[in-house]
Amino acid sequence: MTDAPVTLREKLRGNDRLLAETGHYAGIRDLRLREKDALKYETLHTKLRALCVAGREMARRISASPGVREVGESVVALYTPEGDAVALSNGIMVHVHTASRFIKWMIENGYEDDPGINPGDIFANNDAFIGTVQAPDVIDVVPIFYEGELIGWAGAVCHELECGGITPGGDVALAQERYGEGLFVCAEKVGLNDALRRDYLIRCERNLRMPIYWILDEKAKVAACQDVRESVLALIEETGAEYYRRAIREFIEEGRRAQLARMRQLTVPGRYRGNTFYGHVTRGKPGLQPLGPPDLLYGMPMELTVKGDGKMLLDFEGTQGWGWHSMNCTPAGMDGGMFVTLTQHMNYEGLVNDGAWLATELILPRGTWTNPDNEKCATATSWALLLPAYGCFQRLLSRAFFARGFREEVFVGQVNSPMIEMGGESQYGGRFGMAHFECAAAGSGAMAIRDGLDTAYVGWNPESDMGNMEIWEQSMPMLYLGRAITPDSGGGGKYRGGCGFTSTWLVHNTRELTLITSEHSARVFDNAGMCGGYPAPTVQWHTAVRGADIGGRAKKGLPLPHSLGTDPLRTLPETLLAGGTVEKCEGPFITAPFKDGDVFCHSYNGGGGYGDPLEREPQAAAKDVENGYATEEFCRAVCGIVLKKESRARAAREADEKKTKELRGEMREVRRKKARPVKEWVREERERLLRGDVAPEVRRMINESIRFSAKFADEFRGFWNLPDDFVFAGDGDDNNSGERPGQ
C-alpha cells in the first residue's frame, strides 16, 4: 500500500506541509517539465490563461449588471484540486486569492463528505469570512472531474449591484453587523447536474430588490465556469492527466519565483513606512444603531519590508480594532486589495497566480479592522479603509521603485471614490435597487513624470470607466443636470493629481427614492501626495435641495445648477435654488427619501500630487484653468502661478511669467518665516498631547493603537518622550454600549 494522500483535506494539508518544509510550492524544487520542453510547457500555460479570458467574455455577454458589462467587474480563474489559483483572466484581480480561500474552506470543513463534491455541482459564496471581499462579491466555483478524479476547480466572481441589505445596493453603509448586509450565501451548494437549483433562485428572487442582476450574473458565472471546465478537459485529453497535474503545480511554483524576481528587479530591499487616515462621520444620522461611537478616525500605519530574496511583507501593526460599522475587512479582502495593486505595478503581464501570493506576506494583527476576531461584524464597505491603505502601499512601492531608478513607475496612486446607491420606486413604476458604478472613474494620484489621470482611474479596477449617462438614466429615476470635472479636486504639485467629477441630478418620475452614499473620508485626508505634493481634498459635502421647483424655474428661463460651481463656501444649487430646502451632509449621506423635482449632487475624488507645487510649469496651470481642472485662485494660492487673459481666443489663458516669479519668491519667503526648529515644534506638540488637547476621535484612535500594539505604544511614547504608561484620559467613548473590539 502507498501512503499517498487520499482525501482532498489530506492533500491540502500535505501541500502546506511541503511548502513549510521545503520553501517551494508543493515541494517542487525543480521545474522539471519546463526544463524538459519549455515551449510545450509555456504553450499549456498560454492556453489555460486564454480559456479563462474566453470564459470572462462569455460572462460579460450574459450579465445584467452594468458593473460587469460596462465596467468589467468580474474575473474567471482555474484552480488546483486544493484551491490554488493556476491561471486567471483579466478583470478584478482583487480575487486572485479570495476564491482560493473559499475552496480551501470547503475542503477544511469536510464538504467532501457533506454536502459532497460531485460532478455537475455548483458552489457559491459571498461571506467575506469564508473568502471574498464584501457581500456584493459573489463567487461561484464548479469542480472539474477527470475520469472520476477531482482534478481542479473553475471559479468566477462578479460584483453585484444589489444585495438586499438594510438599504439598497451592495456597499451597505448602514450595516453595522453582518445581519444588515443582505443575502448571504455561505459556501452553499446552489446547483446540481450543471443547473442552478430552483429553490436557490426563488430565495434570490424573494430577498433581493433587483433579483435580475444577481440571478443573471449567477447564470453568467456558471456558464463561464462550465466553459472553462470543458476546455480544460479537452486540454487534458491532449496533454495527458499526469502532465497536467504536474504542470499546474510547476506554474504556481514558477509564479512564486517570478514574483520574487520582479521585486528584486524593481525595488531596493529595506523598510518603507507610511501612514494614512480615514474619518467616518455619522453622528445624528438616521437609521444608525447606538452600538459604537458614531464618529471615528482610523489611522493606518504601514510598514513594507522588501527582503534580499524579493520576499515582500506588509505589516499593519499599530492600526485600530474592528468596529460596529461596515468598513471592517477580512484577511481575504486584505489579500484582494494587495493583489489588485500589485497587478497594476508589477504583475501586469498576466502571469499572476497563487505563486505570487506565496511570495508575499500580509501581517494583519488579530482583532484589528484588518482581521476581525468577531465574525458578526460587517464588511460591506471594506473598500472605505482598503483604498486608503493600498493607496499608501502604492506610495511605499513607488519609493522603492524610485530608489531603484524606475522613476516612470512612480504613482501616487488610488483614492476612495464614493459610491452612491439607491432604491425605491423606479421610473417604470415598480420597485428597484442599484449601486451606481460611475464611481469607477475617479482621479488618480500624480506620477513622477506627469499629472495624474483625470476622471479615469480607481484602484480596485485599473480598467476604469464611468459609463454613459443615457445608460444610467435607464436604470434610475434621476436625470443628469450635469456631469462635470470638479475643479481643484486634484492635489497640488509639480505634477498635480488627477481630478474627479461631480454629478448633479434631478430626481424625476418617482414618488420615493432613497439615496445612500458611502466610502468617503470626512475631515481628514485619506490620501497623500509624494515628494512635496499635496493630498487631494477630502470629498465634497453632499448638497441636496428638496422642493427645488426646477420645472417652474425652467418655464421662466431662470438659471439652473449643473455643477457645484467654484465657490468653496456656497455651492451653485444653494445659490440658485434658494426657494427650496437645502440639506448639506458631511460623510455618508443617509436621510429621508426624495421625490420628483428634488436635486442631489455627488462628487468623486481626485488624487494626490507629486513634487512641490511651486515647481509647477506655469503654462500647465494656464491649460488647467482653460479646461476647468483648476481655478485661477488655486493656481495662485497653491502653485504661486499668476495668469492673464490671453486676448486671441475666448477661453485661453496665459501664464504671467514675471508676476509668477515674484509671487513664488514671496511664497518661499513666507515658508522660510513660518519654519522653525523641529525640536521646538516637537516640544509644543508634546505639551498638547499631555494636555489631551486633540479631537476626541484622535484620542480614541491613539489609545486603541496603544492597546493593540506594544510596539506602537513604545514607538509613540518614545518619539514624543511621554511617560511609559501614557494613554489619553477620557477617550470620548460615548455611546459605545455594545461589545468592544479587541477586548
Binding site: R69, A223, I471, E473
Partner: protein, 710 residues
Amino acid sequence: MGIDAGGTMTDTILVDADGGFTIGKAATTPRDESLGFLESAEDAAAEWGLRAEEMYPHLRVALYSGTGMLNTLLARAGKRLGLIVTRGMEDAVLMGRGLQAWADYSYSDRLHAVTHNHPPPLVPRGRVFGVTERVDQFGAEVIPVYEKEAELAAVELLNENVDAICVCTLFSHVNPAHELQIAAAAENAARERGADVAVYCSHKIRPVVREQSRLNSVLIEAYACAGGRRQLLGIEKAVRARGFKHQVHTVLSYGGLASVRHPRLHETMVSGPIGGILGAQHIGEALGEESLIVSDMGGTSFDMGVITRGQVRMENEPLLGRFKLNAPTIAMDYIGAGAGMVVKVDPLTKKASLGPESAGADPGPVCFDRGGEMPTVCDCDLILGRLNPDYFLGGKVKLNTRKAEEALRRDVADVIGADLHFAAEGMTAMLEAEANSALRRILSSQGVHPSEFVLLSYGGSGPLHLSGYARGIGFKDIITFPFAAAFSAFGCTTADYMRRHSRSVHLDISSAADDDELLRIAGEIDSHWHGLEKLAREEMTNDGHDPAAVSAEPFLMMRYRGQLEDVEVPSPVRAAKTADDARAIIAEFERIYDEINRKVSRYGDAGYSVMELGVIARAEKVKPRLVRRALESPLPKKEADKGKRKVFFDGCWRETQLWEMNELLPGNRIIGPAVVEHSATTLIVAPGDDVCVDEWTLFHYRYGGAKEKE
C-alpha cells in the same frame, strides 16, 4: 477595380469577368489621393497590357477604401469645430469615457495603470457651449431649450471662426426636437453673418443610445470626413475624366458599399480589415459553405472574423482612433501575433516570449539588413529554411540569413541554452500556438462545433504558418489562395451596395405576454421598421439605384429583460403583423441566444427587451466570379518544379520540394514536406500533410493528408 490606399502604399486589384486578377502598387499620395489612385490602377492595368484610357471606359465598378480620413483623425489635422451640448455635459470632450484612456491597449498595459492616458479631444473645451434643456429617456421634454443660450453660443463660435458646429443633446435619438431647435439657431446665426459653416446633429449621424458614442460620431464626421469627401469626389472626377461612366464607391465598416456622397462617411473609417469577411462570404457562396472563419496573419497582428451559419457577427461599439463609437462594424478579433513579432527571453525569469513589439516595415526583421537588431519570427522562418532568401517579395528584398542567425543565437538560443534551430522552431511554434488558442477562443463563443467551420488563411504570413496555427482544431476544411496577400482588397470588390438604418427603442415583453400584448408590440415594431425602410430606400434611390432592385431585411437587437448586451436577431418574418409574428421573433432570439451562450444562462422568466430596430437595404452589384476549371493530374507540371532545399521540420533538416505557386493547376496535389513559393507569400506544407488544388484554384490544406493514397 478595388483600391486600398494604406498609409504608405496604394494597392489595386483588377478583376476580369472570368475571375482573372492582377495586382498593382503605387505610393500613397496624401495631399491628392487621386494621384496615387491613378498610378496604382495604371500599374495593375499594365500587367494586362492595357493603358489606363483603354481600361476605364470598360470598368464596371471602382471601389476605393483608404486610410486618409483615419489619418486626418489620428494626426489631429481636421476641421476647426465648435460644439453645443446639453448644459452640464460640456466636459464630456475631456472626460470622455474613462475607458478611452486604455481600451485599445495591450492586455498588460490595460492593467499597468501608469500608461493610461486620454486621447486628445477633437474640439478644445473652450469651444464647447452648453444650452439648458433636457429630454428624458421616454422622449418627454423636462426642461425646454433656453433659446437665448443657443443663439449666444452660436455667435461665440462664429467669432472663433469655426468651420463647423456640432450639436449633441441627451436622448436626441428618442426625441430630436431640441437638437433641431439648437441647430436652427446656429444656422440662423451663420446665415445672418454670411458664414459658410456646416451644422451637424448627432441624431442624424447615428440615432442610437449612448451619448458619448453619439458625440464621438458627430465630431469625427465633422472633423475628419469633410476633407475625406473632397478627396473622394476628386478621385471620382479624375476617373470620370478618363472615361469611367459610373460613381466611385467606398466600403462601409458594416460590409456594404456606398457612394462617395454617403452622408455618414465616418462609417467607412474602420473598413480596412473587413474585406476578408466579405471575400469569405463570396467564396462560401461558391463552395456552398455557410460557416467560415477568416484568419489574416501579417507582420504584426493576427486578425480573425467569423461567419456562423451565414451570419456575420457585428460589433456595435467599436473604437475608432481610441474613441468609442456606436457605429456597427463587422466584428474582427485580433491578437498581436505576426511574423514581424520580436522574439525574446526575459533575462530574469528565462521565460521565452513573443512581442508585443513588432519590427514593423522599418527597420524590419534583422534579415532585411536595414538596421533591425531584435530577432523576429520572420528571422526564425528564414533560419529554418522556410523562407527563400532570394525570392522575398519576388526577390525585391534579399534576406541576410547570417545576421538573423547571429541575432537569434545571441538573444534567445544562448540565453535559454538551446540549439539555434531548436530555438527557431520553438519560437515559430509559439506564434502558431498563440494563433491556435485565439482561434479556439473565437470558436468557443460561437456555440457551433469546429467541424462545421471552414478556415480561410491569408495575409502575407498566413500560409507560412498555417501548418501550425490551425492544427488539431478539427476544421471542416482549410483553404488558402494564390492571391492570399491581396485577399482583403479582393473581398471588398465582392460586396453589395448596402445601407443599415436603425434606431434605439425600448420595448419590454413580459414572459407571460398574452395575445393583446404581443399584438401591440408587433405593431410598434412594424411601424419603426416601416419608417426605417422608407429612409433606407430613399438613400439608395438617391444614390442612383433602381428602387425595384432594392431589397430590405428587418432585424432586431434583443436581450432578456435587464441584460445589457444585445443579440442581433435577423427577423424571421418580413413584417410584424400578428401575435404569432411576435412569438416567432422571440423564438428566433431564444435560438440564437442558446447558440452563443450556454444553456444554463437562458432566462425567459425575466421577459424580453427589444433595444434597437433596424433595416438592412441592399442592391446587388456585379462581382468577380470564381472560375471553375477542369481538374488536371495530381502531379504538377514541370514548370512548377523549383528544385529542392533543406528545411528544418520537427527537430531535423529534411530535403524539401519547392514549387512555384503561380504554376500549380487545379487537380494538383502537393505532399509535405514542401514549400510553395509566390512573390507575395509562401505556403509551408509540413511533413505528413498535403495540399490539393481544387477546380476553383483554391488550395485545400489537410493535416495528415499525405497518408491518404492518391
